[in-house]
Amino acid sequence: MIRWFLRGVTRRRLTTRYPRTEEPAPPGFRARALLDPNAINPRDAWRTAQVCLPKALTLDHQNRLRLDAGRCIGCGLCVEAVEDGALAIDAGYELASRSRRRLIIGDVQEDDISPEVLGGPFRRSLHIRHVDAGSDGAVEQEIAALLNPYYDMQRLGLFFTASPRHADVLLVTGPVTKPMEEPLRRAYEAMPEPRVVVAAGTDACSGGIWTEPEVLGGVDRVLPVDVYIPGDPPTPIALLHGLLLASGRAREVSAPSWDADAAGPAERAGAGAA
């Protein structure tokens, strides 16, 4: 055991200081697509929507593109399909949102879910119960990575718990397959109130690339979702951001805007598809 002790104490500090300091993604990281809704002419728009497998890019009634970040898997094929720069890849990590509708770029309707934090009883420490409702298995590894020395989520008062009975947060992955609907509902009902449901991953947010009849198409088809964390899979920092959002210790980060300044999303976005 002394050898393990020496291995442990002789390493330098690896742990990120997130959220106190920013944790940037590597250049070229494909978190999600970004869209300038006015830049694409209708024929290109139609062609671009065709290359989007999860139908994150769709046309509205005016034949304008709209992008649903809750469906985007960050494959980058749309960026390759248009050459006029109306689409880019966002390399950001902080994608989580309290509202499903706010994940949609180009949607004009207002929603009434406060971007304000949940706060209250969740402000200090959170106990998290994870349920896999049909994920691809990578999200589970990213969630487990939160315990590794790089992220060490316990320093932020975040803990996994074995029983839904003392969980504050239900962290759900996967598009909700039919056989998992009932176990998911039961886990939720076993939790004491107040409780928070977090959908982790693009497939949990919307079903992603999966369709009926095998899957129901997202956690919010079964349970009320409080925080959506898109990502395919969501990175550990994206998960931390979402969990801190649930506890009222982080804020939503809006998608980089196109017309705010000349640099636009390029500051955060990589050089397009990797």
């Binding site: 960050g74 298995g137 998992m180 039961r186 990797a274």
Partner: protein, 483 residues
């Protein structure tokens, strides 16, 4: 291109035919019912030859293959569930894919008593024996699967595995989406084996279109595939350390794993290497900066890995839990056609990278072990980590300038098999073309489908606390199995 020998037999003669081949059953499935009568198709590896046996089923029943070829057990239950064809005489024809979600009792198959008698053992029975239904929602961060563990308190009498809670319909999706996008579905069947699934699918498409992949793309594919193998083997090591309450070891190996994911994220923009492999080559290229990044990262990584592993292999509290846990005799591994490190740890000489050579893999020695226990499976993985590092070095050294992607033309063949060795073992895609650009039928078989089949056979004289060691030593992916 994977070439095979075609044979057609009557459904009644299928079992005898497969038995006589004396090979390893790779796949057995019913082809799509839109083309008249159902047809069964079996792929068998017999010596160096791949045999493709077809058997039309005129009615809705045929004599089961399982009594003669045990490896067919799950395949035939799957055929029964999905196509309504009944394999008559199957020893255990209960639902596999379409199961009733509630089950609290274990039905122990007759074959189990026969098997124990064969070993001179007796099954634990009596009024104190009860069943623990473990899952599908389990304690900790795990994928959904259910294990019905029958125990008298400590000794495990029997353990039944129930999968397919996570079936998302990947085979259907692959056929219904445009061909250019289908590889994105394959990548998400088992999210931790994205490269292997993308490779197996791409190999099948390339075979349909008779496309040759450029050497540069092959080398990049090898680098990515081995990087994926590394982080999957690390994952198993992390899990085993966690089970042995070896916190420092767990943290150290988890940190090593994280470094690989960060490298993956920097190389292809996704921590699980998605969006890199496509039919016809790769979507990404690795420039000199990227290659330097790999070389410097992996040099440091290898040094830290070797030092940490050396400490682990001298930690008795870890070794004691793994040695003799979950023994898989060579006979069972062969009968049930296990694949990957699980098979190799039981002495089976099988590795898709060599057997169905692809993407220019250089000749390498397949790591094997004869003990067949959890420790043997770990040791095979440790050897494979070294082999993977060597393959990555070799691929970087031989990376020739050239294109990374060629267009796959129209299909010139009607059906093809694609294969790749994931960290878990042989991954197969069988594709049939509808016309020259679209797919009509897809059958995929992940390594975990084969290795989950023997789960219930690993608990001879094991106790309840061995459970997680045994489960994690198999390194299974429920997502891949369920598809």
């Amino acid at each position: 291109m994977i070439a095979f020998e075609d044979r057609t037999v009557e459904a009644g003669a299928l079992a005898t035919e497969l038995k006589q081949l004396e090979g390893r059953l790779m796949m057995l499935f019913a082809t799509s019912p839109t083309e008249g009568p159902h047809g069964l198709r079996a792929l068998v590896r017999a010596g160096d030859v791949l045999v493709n046996v077809r058997a039309p089923v005129p009615g809705s029943t045929y004599p089961a293959v399982t009594p003669m070829v045990p490896a067919a057990h799950w395949f035939e239950r799957e055929i029964h569930d999905l196509h309504g064809i009944t394999p008559e005489g199957h020893p255990r024809l209960e639902p596999l894919v379409h199961h009733a979600p509630e089950q609290r009792e274990v039905e122990i198959p007759e074959e189990e008593d026969v098997r124990l008698a064969h070993r001179g053992a007796e099954r634990l029975a009596g009024p104190g024996v009860f069943v623990i239904p473990y899952g599908p929602v389990r304690s900790g961060v795990f994928e959904s699967a259910q294990f019905l563990v029958q125990t008298g308190g400590e000794d495990v009498a029997y353990c039944a595995q129930r999968l397919f809670f996570k079936r998302r319909g990947a085979e259907r999706r692959i056929c219904e989406v445009p061909l250019d996008l289908a590889v994105l579905v394959a990548e998400r069947v088992s999210g931790t084996s994205s490269v292997a699934h993308a490779l197996a699918f791409s190999h099948a498409v390339e075979s349909l279109a008779q496309t040759d992949v450029a050497p540069r793309a092959q080398a990049i594919r090898r680098i990515l595939a081995e990087l994926e193998r590394l982080y999957n083997h690390l994952e198993v090591t992390v899990r085993e350390c966690e089970d042995a309450s070896l916190s420092v070891g767990q943290a150290q190996f988890a940190a090593l794993k994280e470094r690989l994911h960060r490298l993956a994220g920097a190389l292809v923009g996704n921590r699980y290497l998605r969006g890199a492999v496509v039919p016809g080559g790769t979507r990404i290229d690795l420039d000199t900066t990227a290659l330097d990044l790999i070389t410097t990262t992996m040099t440091d990584w290898e040094r830290d890995w070797e030092r940490t592993l050396a400490v682990l292999l001298r930690t008795d509290s870890f070794l004691d839990r793994l040695v003799s846990a979950g023994p898989l005799p060579e006979e069972d591994a062969r009968d049930f056609a296990c694949v990957g490190p699980v098979a190799r740890a039981s002495g089976i000489d099988v590795d898709t990278r060599r057997d169905l050579a692809y993407d220019g893999y250089p000749a390498f020695e397949v790591a094997r072990h004869s003990d067949g226990d959890a420790m043997a499976r770990m040791e095979v993985r440790f050897h494979e980590v070294d082999a993977s590092l060597e393959v990555i070095r070799e691929a970087i050294g031989t990376l020739a300038p050239g294109p990374t992607r060629v267009a796959t033309g129209p299909f010139v063949r009607s059906c093809a098999l694609g294969a790749a060795e994931s960290a878990r073992g042989e991954t197969l895609y069988w594709l049939e073309a509808a016309d020259d650009t679209a797919l009509r039928f897809c059958k995929l078989r992940a390594a975990s489908f084969m290795n989950f089949g023997i789960f219930n056979r690993l608990f001879d004289s094991q106790v309840l606390t061995d459970f997680s060691f045994i489960e994690h030593s198999l390194g299974l992916s429920p997502a891949g199995c369920d598809a």
